[in-house]
């Protein structure tokens, strides 16, 4: 249909799948070196293909579509195995294959001594397959396949150490909460099908575009259901509780799936279907509120966590909240921008945390770390880049993307100054808890007998690379107010359109940047005061606000609330109402009743079969007599 050369997009997801098949079937018998070679090869190849596409991207007629084969064909509905490529897909592809490949390299070093090395890489490649399917899909149904698939891979990898009950439970928790979100996604697809007769992005969005009267109503219903799906996958309120527990998985998994790629699928999906959301200001408002609330909420919990990975997990939830805030404000380009920079610096932070844990021989509690700056300098410096980036200090990547989000949400009609204030306050908390982590881990006196050692180069190489990206990644989207050209947003414009409120309001953008930097510096200052200069101060603050501190340490008792309000009643209902009453009572009882009835009638009737010839003869005679009587009286009555 267009003059585009064939790009063979299908190769991008299929290659990691081949790696999965090879490692999954033969991996057990192969040496570790070969397993890692297979895994790396089949993730490097898609990266190479994507890089090749980038080179020729300027000449392509967009969006580029590729229909491989019909999938479902009925008279009323049709879905194809179809892939598409546009600027948004390209960015996601670069993030997934790029960060994915880097984390694969890191895993070679990190997992070197682990049991089930081949299994780990098989799952990781499987994840890549589904994630790439998700971002390449041209219709909601194929996107959903990837969506479910990454959930599966996430489940398998969270429960990687399957001998640990906590890991198994965490995997199940993640899967079940995602299922709740998927339920919303499925309903949204049914509604789309009912109203548009198609699940293809192209057809649905075109149908919306040519019907300007479609506002609110069922569009809001679809948007809110899609949002439910997104809150499950992207760990937003109310379905976020699985992500902190997902830290049971190996650290590279936390970096790849639970920070850089999979959890951003919800953001990607919202941006991908922004045409829908744009028609429903109400649902945009809901997204903005959920995003801002999640960002603030998770940041407050992150302030008091002592497990280094859990701090990062809450930080991830918080940062995803920023992306949702941006989506809600209609600033889709800013959301994707933050998604990209977040993938860099949060991937880096997790990998660096993994290196720290590696150095400490498995210790994850920050209270037992300290003073690691001298012992593991490369990890320290690279992690510092991540800490500075997430805290929003210029010129690191996080500064630009977070600034774009805050600025646009202030100006947006669906977000507004209140949510902007929540966002800016969260930025303060972010700077505080990240520098708290930094000081607790790397500064002060060592609080452990362990002798830390620097990680191997397979782990440090990815750290250095990601640190470089965390420093420079934001420069692709420097706003005009700071002397840049806002290239990132312009690159995405064919997909996201230009936000209306953007035009003309750039005079005070500099002011907003200054405010956010000042706020971040305040956060850094407080952390510096409490955890470096006066370490005893932290305890005093916690002691003086005991109620608040307890609330935060216990994560607002949300887990307990869900346990009490949902899990226990559900278990009770299924055990006693469904299990006891319906299963054992109705179904089992009904069966027993039928069987008992048949047995009772049988025991009554079997008396006829006495074995006594004369009784048989008697019955025979009686029967004959009865027949005679019936015929006689019957005839006489009719005649």
């Amino acid at each position: 249909m267009t003059g585009n050369p064939s790009l063979h997009l299908w190769l991008i997801p299929v290659l990691p799948f081949l790696g999965f098949l090879l490692n999954g079937t033969l991996g057990r018998k192969l040496p570790n070196a070969l397993v890692s070679a297979i895994a790396l090869l089949f993730t490097a190849a898609p990266l190479a293909i994507v890089a090749n596409i980038v080179l020729s991207f300027g000449h392509l007629q967009l969006p580029y579509r590729e229909v491989l084969a019909p999938w479902i064909e009925t008279s009323a509905f049709r879905a194809d195995f179809a892939f598409m490529l546009d600027p948004l897909t390209l960015i996601m592809l670069l993030v997934v294959t790029g960060v994915g490949f880097v984390i694969h390299i890191y895993s070679v070093g990190y997992m070197a001594d682990e049991e089930g090395y081949w299994r780990f890489f098989a799952y990781l490649n499987l994840f890549m397959f589904f994630m790439l399917t998700l971002v390449l899909a041209e219709n909601f149904l194929l996107l959903f396949v990837g969506w479910e698939g990454v959930g599966l891979a996430s489940y398998l990898l969270i429960g990687f150490y399957f001998t640990r009950p906590s890991a198994n439970n965490a995997g199940k928790k993640a899967f079940i909460l995602n299922r709740i979100g998927d339920f919303g996604f499925l309903l949204a697809m049914f509604l789309l099908l009912a109203h548009f007769g198609s699940l293809s992005f192209d057809q649905v969005f075109y149908a919306i575009a040519i019907h300007p009267e479609m506002q609110g109503g069922f569009i809001t219903a679809i948007a809110l259901l899609l949002l439910l799906g997104a809150t499950g996958k992207s760990a937003q309120i109310p379905l976020y509780v699985w992500l902190p527990d997902a830290m049971e998985g190996p650290t590279p998994v936390s970096a790849l799936i639970h920070a850089a790629t999979m959890v951003t699928a919800g953001v990607y999906m919202v941006v991908r279907s922004h045409v829908l959301f744009d028609r429903s200001p109400f649902s945009l408002g809901v997204i903005a509120i959920i995003g801002a609330a999640t960002a603030l909420f998770a940041a407050t919990v992150g302030m008091v966590q002592t497990d280094i990975k859990r701090v990062l997990a809450y930080s991830t939830i918080s940062q995803l909240g920023y992306m949702f805030l941006a989506c809600g404000a209609g600033a889709y380009a800013a959301a994707i921008f933050h998604l990209v920079t977040h993938a860099f610096f949060k991937g880096l932070l997790f990998l660096a945390a993994g290196a720290v844990i590696h150095a400490m021989g498995g210790e994850q509690d920050m209270r037992h770390m300290g003073g690691l700056r001298k012992a593991i300098p490369i990890t320290f410096w690279t992690m510092s880049a991540g800490v500075f980036a997430i805290s929003g200090l210029p010129p690191f990547a996080g500064f630009f993307s977070k600034d774009a989000i805050l600025y646009e949400s202030f100006a947006s009609p669906t977000a507004g100054p209140i949510l902007w204030f929540v966002g800016i306050f969260t930025a303060l908390l972010t700077a505080f808890y990240m520098f708290r982590l930094w000081y607790l881990t790397f500064f002060g006196e060592s609080r452990s007998e362990h002798h830390p050692h620097e990680s191997p180069w397979t782990m440090l190489g990815p750290l250095v690379l990601l640190a470089f990206l965390s420093l420079t990644g934001g420069w692709i989207g420097i706003p005009k107010a700071l002397g840049g050209g806002d290239q990132f947003a312009r690159f995405l414009e064919p997909v996201t359109g230009t936000p209306v409120h953007r035009a003309g309001a750039s005079d005070n953008e500099l002011l907003f940047s200054v405010i956010s930097v000042v706020v971040a510096l305040i956060g850094v200052f407080i952390a510096d005061l409490m955890y470096r200069r006066k370490p005893e101060l932290a305890g005093q603050v916690a002691g003086s606000a005991k109620g608040l501190y307890n609330l935060l340490v216990n994560k607002y008792w949300i887990d307990q609330l869900y346990q009490g309000a949902v899990v226990t009643p559900l278990l009770f209902a299924s055990r006693y109402l469904l299990g006891g009453l319906v299963d054992r009572g109705l179904i089992n009882g009904g069966g027993s009743l039928a069987a008992g009835g048949v047995r009772g009638v049988g025991s009554l009737v079997q008396r006829v079969q006495s074995g006594n010839i004369r009784s048989y003869a008697g019955w025979l005679a009686l029967g004959a007599a009865a027949l005679l009587l019936i015929t006689y009286f019957g005839f006489s009555m009719h005649l």
């Binding site: 006495s610 074995g611 006594n612 010839i613 004369r614 003869a617 005679a621």
Partner: protein, 101 residues
């Protein structure tokens, strides 16, 4: 004078009922067996009576068939009775109830 057909039929019915009653009451297999023969012959009597009444030959022919079947039945039945007696050393039908569950 001709005897009305009703008399034959009544006699046949009486004989048949005696046969049935004997079949139900008697315990000795041989007596039971004999009562069966009695029932067969009661039926034969009604066949012959009707044949005579309507001047048809079929009834008479049927009687021959019944007698042939009765003879064959007697042969088989007596063989069974002997077999039972050998196995059980009794001819009481109430004790021949091995078929009972």
């Amino acid at each position: 004078m001709t005897i009305p057909i009703a008399w034959y039929l009544v006699l046949s019915a009486i004989l048949f009922c005696i046969g049935v009653a004997a079949f139900l009451i008697k315990r000795n297999i041989i007596t039971v067996f004999m009562s069966i023969e009695l029932m067969l012959n009661a039926v034969n009597l009604s066949f012959v009576a009707f044949a005579y009444q309507w001047h048809r030959l079929q009834g008479q022919i049927f009687v021959f068939f019944v007698m042939v079947v009765a003879a064959a039945e007697a042969a088989v039945g007596l063989a069974i009775i002997i077999a039972i007696f050998r196995a059980r050393s009794t001819l009481n039908v109430d004790q021949v109830n091995l078929m009972k569950l």
